[in-house]
Symmetry: C2
Subunit: 396 residues, 2 copies
């Protein structure tokens, strides 16, 4: 009945298979490696309760009034200080998903090219598709010359076909879904390409502070502050329920995002921003983050040792130094989408890897999350999944 | 430096003059009739503090986790019950501004026609412009036949030029900026046109429950539930700082909004939704709303009597039965934009009426808000404004 009334963009919308899973099953009733959920035990409830009460005392009605579109100054300042950037380069976003989406909105016309890793974050692919961008995924390659060549070829192909490369979307630290990070050399190479060919880089950085081993690698933003839009999020270092993130970028870019955001939602949630600002400034966030890092490191170590012990021959996986995910590769011919119903009815959920590949390759891969479940459930879940895979391999 | 990278939409963005005012002046340091801010004294701080604590006790970590894109079920159910609609027709939005914007996103291609009243809500005009819609404003006319003819002519003109009318955007109750409401007959007429010509109606209803006299008039949604998208907001009946609203519509329309919202921001703020749900279900919201209605009625009455007493000859104004605004009309030739700097430097702010007119007519009009300031400031502010106007009229 409404078909002829919908916009052309609607034809390019696609549903998140992850969110569709969540509509169908109660995550707590199964072994779920599917979501990107933090563990609820990392949310410091009593500390939040106290901070909320302090915010009401300190700000009164102001905490529940309309606020500035750029975000409340207290939070912008706290973010600017934490990441050593000028405050006029900080825009608070109503979730880091909004950060991604608004970048696409202000940069992309239908047909424009967005470069990204393959696999890449599903929510970003959804957003880019919804603006009818042409998404070109470039698989990672350990040989940096070949890796560079692959990007150069993708850029050349876009130029030949008359399309414009607007930006490269990257999660350089503990990528979703693979869990892998870019080396400093790779970051420099990609920033160099952006400079050379005149496109921007959207650096999505929700997991950066969840590092369990090794040294921090400089952000792409720090390598080229006028070429990179850096996106951050409170979801993994504090709590996703606040729906708060930030964008750090050149003021000329932020200005467009600011005007766009006026008509998107006027301003981010005010009270939540004051709570996040108090958490940052008081050191409570860092205190809590340290606990999360310890907890997640334990879960990652557990998952790696379980995979080693239980997975059948022919299955390999990434070894993330941080973040929430690792990526499993089954032998060629395995179909993780086809296998999914069997797994779910046995009581274990994952996300099939092909959903993260712009060209829908990677059919023999899956993403496993290790932050959400308790160690007991991780153990039982991996045993079950390994059993099902041993059973299913070669039979699908 | 970035110019060639921005999307075509960016060329149609325009800044909210209201938000620009707020960037320049501290609202509390002047007499501000400019914003659409509720009075901070209507925010029930102690009741909010208590409810927040209850939500933490009741939901624990769930209140800070990711949640369903449609909104948390408790809030959807509370909204569905309050407005007597099925819960599958309720989508929670991250502010009612997002409700407006997402309607444009899923319905409008560049060049499509959106019909609206003239004047109309500025934030809606911003959003519609940003999608490069052709906005056609139709002034109100007390003669319903002529009023209908004006709409029919606008539709015919769109059709002749090959454009498609996608929807009519209306605030039928205590409109922003005029404060006026549509009669039942007018609502029926407009719904009839939508049925006849096959477009939708976006009924924006943030002020409906702030009625100070007279009887409620049926919503346009109630007249044609499959033809109307009804948008509601917690901003004026609870507090804007939560950034929560809702859309009520046919499930086929909500489904597109739902998928779009996945990539816009995944889900509305979770904790805030639980707080709003508890407020609704416990009756605290209605209790508080009743106090707001009494407070605002007093302020409206005060403003009307002050205008009567102090405004110079040749100035007229609307008599709203509810809401937050009334609209002032000065003699032809007066320019409220040009007058604005003088008023602001004397210490009084308003919003020039032309910003609300899609064709930038209405140069001799201005919007006055009466909810935000204390009675003392309303009195001093109107005396000052009346003096300035008496001074300025005929001199501009």
């Amino acid at each position: 009945m409404y078909k002829e009334l919908f916009s052309d963009d609607v034809g390019s919308f696609f549903r998140s298979p992850v969110r569709e899973i969540f509509k169908k099953v109660d995550l707590n009733s199964i072994y779920s490696f599917a979501g990107g959920y933090p563990s609820a035990e990392t949310f410091p409830l009593e500390s939040i309760r106290q901070t909320m009460s302090e915010v009401i005392d300190k700000y009164g009605g102001k905490a529940f009034q309309y606020g500035a579109t750029q975000g409340v100054m207290e939070l912008r300042e706290a973010v600017a200080e934490r990441y050593s950037v000028p405050v006029d380069r900080v825009q608070i976003t109503s979730s880091s998903q909004q950060g991604i989406d608004v970048c696409a909105r202000v940069l992309v016309n239908p047909g424009d090219v967005i470069l990204t890793s393959s696999p890449s974050y599903l929510g970003a692919l959804q957003s880019f598709c919804s603006y009818r961008a042409e998404i070109v995924g470039v698989p990672h390659c350990d040989d940096i010359e070949k890796y560079k060549d692959a990007y150069v070829a993708a850029i050349a192909k876009a130029e030949t076909s008359g399309s414009k490369v607007k930006f490269l979307y990257m999660i350089p630290d503990f990528q979703n879904p693979s869990g892998e990070s870019l080396t400093l050399e790779e970051r420099k190479m990609l920033v160099g390409l952006a400079e050379e060919y005149g496109f921007l880089i959207v650096e999505d950085s929700p997991y950066r502070e969840l590092r369990y081993e090794g040294e921090h690698i400089p952000t792409m933003y720090s390598l080229a502050p006028d070429r990179v839009i850096h996106l951050g999020s409170f979801s993994k270092i504090f709590a996703p329920g606040f729906r708060l993130g930030w964008a750090i970028a050149h003021p000329d870019i932020l200005d467009k995002i600011y005007v766009c955001k006026q008509s998107l939602d006027l301003c981010p949630p005010i009270f939540d921003q004051y709570v996040a600002a108090e958490f940052l400034k008081s050191g409570r966030l860092d205190e809590n983050l340290a606990k999360s890092v310890t907890l997640y490191k334990g879960k990652r170590d557990l998952l790696l040792s379980l995979l080693e012990e239980y997975m059948p021959q022919g299955v390999s996986w990434t070894h993330p130094q941080g973040g929430l995910f690792l990526f499993l590769t089954m032998p060629e011919g395995f179909d993780a989408v086809a296998f999914y119903d069997k797994a779910l009815s046995a009581g274990v959920a994952y996300v099939a890897g092909e959903f993260f590949h712009p060209d829908r390759s990677g059919k023999n891969t899956m993403r496993l999350n290790f932050s959400f479940m308790s160690p007991e459930k991780i153990i039982a879940g991996i045993k079950l999944l390994a059993e099902l895979l041993a059973d299913g391999l070669g039979l699908e």
